[in-house]
Structures are given as C-alpha cells and as structure tokens.
Symmetry: C2
DNA sequence: GTTTTGTCTGTGACTAGGTCACAGACTGCT
DNA sequence: AGCAGTCTGTGACCTAGTCACAGACAAAAC
C-alpha cells in the first residue's frame, strides 16, 4: 500500500474518480530506487507501471557496437512510455532505463493498471497523453539524428543539461552518448566552443560562460 | 455503415465480443483512398482510427530543409500507430501518411474508438499490441540512422522493397528518402553495387541480380 | 519527326562527421 | 612518490553529406 496522498502530485490524476482511486492507492507501492539502478532493459521487462514522484530516469538505446544514444528522460510527475507500451502491448524493447538520481516512484501492478485502463476515462487519458508526448519526442530524435548538425545539437544539449546553474558534470564520452555520436567529435566541438569563449571545460565538467552564443548556434537554420 | 464482414480480416479482432462488434460495424465506414492521397500530416489530424483492408500506407517525416525519411509502412491487416496515438493522446504529429497504393480501409470514428477501448478488452489488446510493434520499429529506425552504415542499410532496403520479384520501381531520390540520406550518396552506392554485379539499374528502376551479395552485406557486423 | 521541357542520373570538389591509434594528463589509491 | 584507471587531445584516414553543374532520357508540344 502507498504511504500518502501521492495522487495529488499528478495533475492529470487529480480528478480521478474516488471509487477508482481507492484500489489504486491500495494496490500500489511507493518504491525507492537509488541512483544508477537499471530499472528495465533488454531481457528484463518492467513488472509495473511507474509514476515518478522524485528524481529522473534516463532512457537510452545501446547498439551492438557499444555506442549509445539517449532517447529521453522521465522526470517527476511523468511516467515512462516504454514501460507503458510494454505493459499495454506485452512486447519487449531493446532500450534500457537507468535511474539518474535517487528516484521515488509509485509502482502500479499490471493487474491494477489493466483494470484502471478499463474503468477510468481519466486514467486512460492520463496514460495516453503521456504516451503521445513521448512519441512526439522520439520523432524529434529521429529528425535530429538524421538531419541536424552535431554542433547545433551539442549546443542545444548543453543549454538543456546546464539548466540555470549552467554547470554540467558529464564526461565527453557521456555527452557523446547523449547525442549518439563519438567522443572525439564531442571533444573537438567543445574545443571550438571554448575557443569562442562560450564554455570553460575541466575534467568531467563544463561551465557555460556565454549562453547566448550557444543559443544562437542552437537555433541555427 | 460497413459493407461486409471485414472484422474477420483482422486476426486480433476475430474474438471480439458480439455485442461490441455490432456498434463497431454499424458506425464504421469502409473507405477507399486512391494512391498518392495524403491521409494525415502536419496541420491536419486524422479524424478516425484506420484499419487497412487493402494496400499500403507510407509514414514519413519531412524536415524543414526538405529532406525526408520513411518511418514505417502500414499494410493490410494493420493499423496506423500515429493515428492511434493522435486519437488517444489528442496530440498532433509532424509526420505524414501517404497512400502508396490504392487503399481500402475501415474508418472507426473517434467516439466509437473511445467506447471500444473502454468496453472491450479484446479491442484494447489489439490496439495496444499494434502500437507496441510500431514503437519497436521506431527504436530500430533510430538505431539504424544513428549507428548503421548506409551501404548496409541500402542493401537491406533493396532486399525488403524488391520482394520476391526482385524488381524495384523507385528513383534514387526516393531511395534516399527511404533512408533519410542524400540522392548522390544513393547514386554512388548503387554504382558500387552494380559494379559488383548485384543489381542492374535503369531509369527509375532497379533489378536485383544477386540477392546473396546484398544479403551478405545487409547482415554485416 | 524534331524540339522542348521536366525529370532523373553521374561526377568532381569540398566539408562534416566517424574511426583508429596512440600520447598525455589528471585523479585516487597505496 | 609510484601506479592504475579514467579522461582528454590529436593526427591520419575513411565515410557520408553538400554543392554545382553536366548529360541522358521520356513524354509532351510543335
């Protein structure tokens, strides 16, 4: 059973019918996963539908040759689309989900999930909308990988990862995995950005000095 | 109203509960679309859930710069995932669907679709499974675009498009759009394949002469 | 039949990006 | 201080994408 009133953390679920909310709360568990945990991946399917209360999950694809690409991140208040698809369609995926930070999540067992989908229009809508957003996201990834330049994509990613702090603790290798490219390519691009005074690099970290420069490149035609 | 007993064309729907099948048949229309019709695309959302009876639909993504990439094809007995996502999540997509051949399809209105999802476990399962398969597909596309070589991808695509007839009526430009690359790249690769005796090219068409050669490359490490 | 028009294909030169091999440089540990 | 493991830099080379333009072909127009 779930400890508290976590439903209110999810705007899409606040209007959940009370007689539906009750079994949901009763059969779900609030779980804690520590940073680095592999939540799902090829060969082990998720057992439950996860709603994140706290933390972020990184979903990525790993190729046979060992190269990686980040597909999207799931943050607090969201649910993982692949988990959803997996539960809904009874299919397995080649992508894997990693807890980037410590994560608190609500785990809804498959049986409850099935029942809620059947009985609650609100719940259906919540699940489907989340799903829809992810698909849009994946299409964007395809477009980026196929057609966008790496310098532009890197600038975008640095802005996104840096947040307000404008400080990013990632190795070049990890940044390459973000974009699905090679480490050397990232190193060279970062050198160029540094030469232009947009960033400062240090071992394992990057500081954004001139976000406007990056933004200009990031929105290039 | 639908003309006939089209439900039996869809294995996943054969077990549909009779009291559910009735409204489905009554409110759905069998429609005919001629080759080349744009079924959905940015700016005009699909109005109904489509089940294909005959023909194929190509779903592709077009970038601002005019480059294209084929995401997947929907054939007889299948449904279009993006349409599904769109109906389910009330979102719009940047991809477009084009009838590649003349198409016969069953159009299920949104209201009916919503009701069926709510009332029929069989229908839900049918929709979700189809959806799941598409997602797997999209992940594969991402992996290919990001990590696979174009010669390998082209060989795969030629085998797939050629079918048993081993004859493909596509221009180099169209093949480039299949893989999300540039026309010149395709031209050069085809020249190389021809030099190796695997294919014969003519204006607007390609004949596969040595499928084994292509297969060998297609399954390269 | 010939000309015109539009589409399709071929090619060279160049830029961007990915691969390979290896050299240093920076931790953290002993 | 010495050492191991990780992280970063770099040159050489290959693959892929871009640009510009030249022909080749097919169908329609004359």
């Amino acid at each position: 059973m779930a400890s508290a009133d976590w439903i209110s953390s999810f705007p899409g679920l606040r209007k959940l019918e009370p007689d539906v909310a009750k079994p949901l709360i009763e059969t779900s568990n609030v779980v804690h996963l520590s940073a680095g945990t592999r939540i799902f991946g090829p060969g082990h399917a998720p057992e439950a539908y996860l709603l994140l209360l706290q933390g972020t999950v990184r979903v990525q694809q790993v190729s046979e040759t060992g190269r990686e690409i980040v597909l999207y991140r799931v943050s607090a208040g969201e649910s993982c689309a692949l988990t959803t698809a997996c539960l809904m369609g009874y299919e397995e995926y080649q992508a894997e989900g990693i807890a980037e930070t410590d994560v608190d999540a609500v785990a809804i067992p498959r049986a409850t999930f099935d029942e809620l989908i059947a009985t609650s229009a609100t719940f259906r809508r919540f699940v489907f909308t989340a799903f829809s957003v992810r698909i849009t996201n994946l299409l964007r990834v395809i477009e980026d990988v196929a057609f966008a330049r790496v310098d532009v994509r890197l600038a975008q990613r640095l802005l996104q990862l840096g947040g307000d702090a404008r400080h990013i603790e990632l190795t070049h290798q990890a940044l390459a995995a973000e974009l699905g490219t090679a480490r050397e390519v990232i190193s060279r691009q970062l050198n160029e950005f540094q030469r232009r005074g947009w960033i400062a690099t240090s071992r394992g970290a990057i500081d954004v000095l001139n976000a406007d420069g990056l933004r200009k490149l990031a929105s290039a035609p």
